[in-house]
Amino acid sequence: MAASIVADHATKKFTMRYHRTIKQITIAAMRRQQISDTFDAVKDVSFTIEQGESVGLMGLNGSGKSTLLKLISGVMKPDSGQVLTRGRIAGLIATGAGFHPQLTGRDNVFLNAAILGMSEAETRRKFDQIVEFADIGRFLDTPVGHYSSGMFSRLGFAVAVHTDCDIFLVDEVLAVGDRPFKRKCVARMDEIRAEGRTMFYVSHAPASVRKMCDRVLILEKGALGYDGPVDEGIRYLGYDDDGDDVNSEESEESEVDEELGADV
């Protein structure tokens, strides 16, 4: 087995800016106030994920999960250390972000697929599957700016899940989709996992992490606090307390919601 994602002492600093204009900066400098400050959003994080593993990433709000995901997806560059990946990356991160509101759904599918690294032939081959999955019917040739938010993200999802990727990143609460669409997404994600692709799954929902992942990473204020089996990780984070889990009704109905992390 080959390593799929390697983080090697990756650190990402963010600058907080207090003063924006020259006037403000000058006044602040004269008063000897701080002009800017930095903090580590991701602090010296190291781990190796093997090809085919499903790893959950958990942590409280502001612990650096999204930043780490952006380092892996290549949107951000670590300030020190490195993040290495093998193969093509796709995922349910900010789906529809590349959509241009003035272009039609059809044009956007091609553009989005191209950003994800698909060729024209590959997109054509998958186009029908994507459209069927998104289920937007005759709106396909309407500018996506006129779409409902559900349709917009369904189309984004559809492109992402049909990319032939080696690493699949998931960071989005599927709150927008209706129940049938959520079920379809779960089924598709199970399929992706079964195909032996690496899955990196960010979630707050213990139930879905338990179902999807065989390992969990926990970030605490940017640093890697825990790396190991899922159940212990959830206990480590203190999420195993059923009283806190809003969605833990024992009904079959809420199971899907829970799996998808709809408990925002």
Partner: protein, 316 residues
């Protein structure tokens, strides 16, 4: 559906090396992914003219209005029509070049901020956006060149090899320099929006520092010629590009020397006989020097871009 591909894929994956996920492959990456570049260019063109009745025609309105204004004010009121034969062609060949440059520079500068929704969320070569705006500007320039050519033919332009060579060289300088500046200013504009204002301020100068509304000979025969300003004037790549474009379109349209010929004419109808003071000495050598210098600037701007792009996502 895709399942049958998987075994083959898994085998292949062993050969794929571990790579830093943040690409930073620069301009080379942009051309490697030319299919994506094509789609982005299409998107830019489509988006720019969505909901507009005249659509692409708008990119002609501005140069045309400017042309008419200069034509009447400079040509008729100040009387340059008399001293410069085919003054309209002289001016329009300069306008086309300058307009290509300013459009490249100013839309390139705003390109990354304008596409922040994508840059912030998706990994792709970020040079894609400045390069796409250079291409969009080139697409807009092409029909203007055609209009210029038709106009030049109407007043007696005849093709000559050296002229075509001059035109290509002139456009090449503008393209390379425009790309370089678009890269640099697009990346700086992410950090301080002041840069797009700086660029529009710089654009005020472009019409005056090139021989557009005045002929080069006016400068070359005046006292300025012996001063350091003449050297500075010729060190401007945009000036050289404009002169090369005038060599391509204006010079061959001049009348052949004869009994009634004005003071600038082609001896035996040969455009290559036109030299100083209507064009600078060593125009083609200067052109190549400018092109080489523009490539050096492009490399430097790419280096600067690569340094800055690591912080785009957080600063947008």
């Amino acid at each position: 559906m895709t399942t049958h591909l998987e075994p083959a894929r898994a085998v292949q994956l062993e050969d794929v090396p571990l790579r830093p996920s943040f690409s930073g492959g620069g301009l080379l990456d942009v051309f490697r992914r030319h299919y994506l570049l094509k789609l982005i260019v299409q998107k830019e063109i489509q988006a720019r003219y969505q909901g507009s009745l005249l659509g692409l025609m708008w990119s002609y309105v501005q140069p045309l209005v400017r042309f008419c204004m200069y034509f009447f004010v400079i040509g008729l009121v100040l009387g340059l029509h008399k001293s410069v034969p085919n003054f309209a062609i002289h001016m329009f060949s300069a306008i086309v070049g300058v307009h290509f440059f300013t459009e490249t520079f100013s839309s390139g500068t705003r390109s990354i901020v304008r596409n922040k929704a994508i840059v912030r969320k998706m990994a792709m070569p970020r040079e894609m956006f400045p390069v796409a705006s250079v291409i969009v500007s080139a697409i807009h320039t092409f029909p203007q060149l055609l209009i210029l050519l038709v106009g030049a033919i109407a007043v007696g332009w005849q093709p000559d090899l050296q002229g075509i060579y001059a035109g290509v060289l002139g456009l090449a300088i503008i393209t390379v320099l425009g790309t370089a500046l678009a890269l640099l200013f697009a990346s700086m504009n992410v950090f301080f929006k002041d840069f797009q204002n700086i660029v529009s301020t710089l654009m005020i100068f472009t019409h005056w520092v090139v021989p557009m509304i005045y002929p080069f000979s006016k400068l070359a025969t005046s006292g300025i010629r012996t001063t350091v300003f003449f050297g500075i004037y010729l060190a401007n790549p945009l000036t050289i590009s404009v002169l090369l474009l005038q060599r391509a379109f204006w010079v061959p349209s001049l009348p052949t020397c004869g009994r009634h010929a004005p003071k600038i004419c082609l001896q035996g109808g040969d455009p290559s006989t036109i030299g100083f003071p209507h064009l600078p000495h060593h125009l083609f050598l200067l052109g190549w020097v400018m092109l080489a210098a523009s490539f050096v600037v492009l490399v430097l701007c790419q280096v600067a871009f690569s340094r800055l792009e690591g912080r785009f996502a957080e600063r947008l």
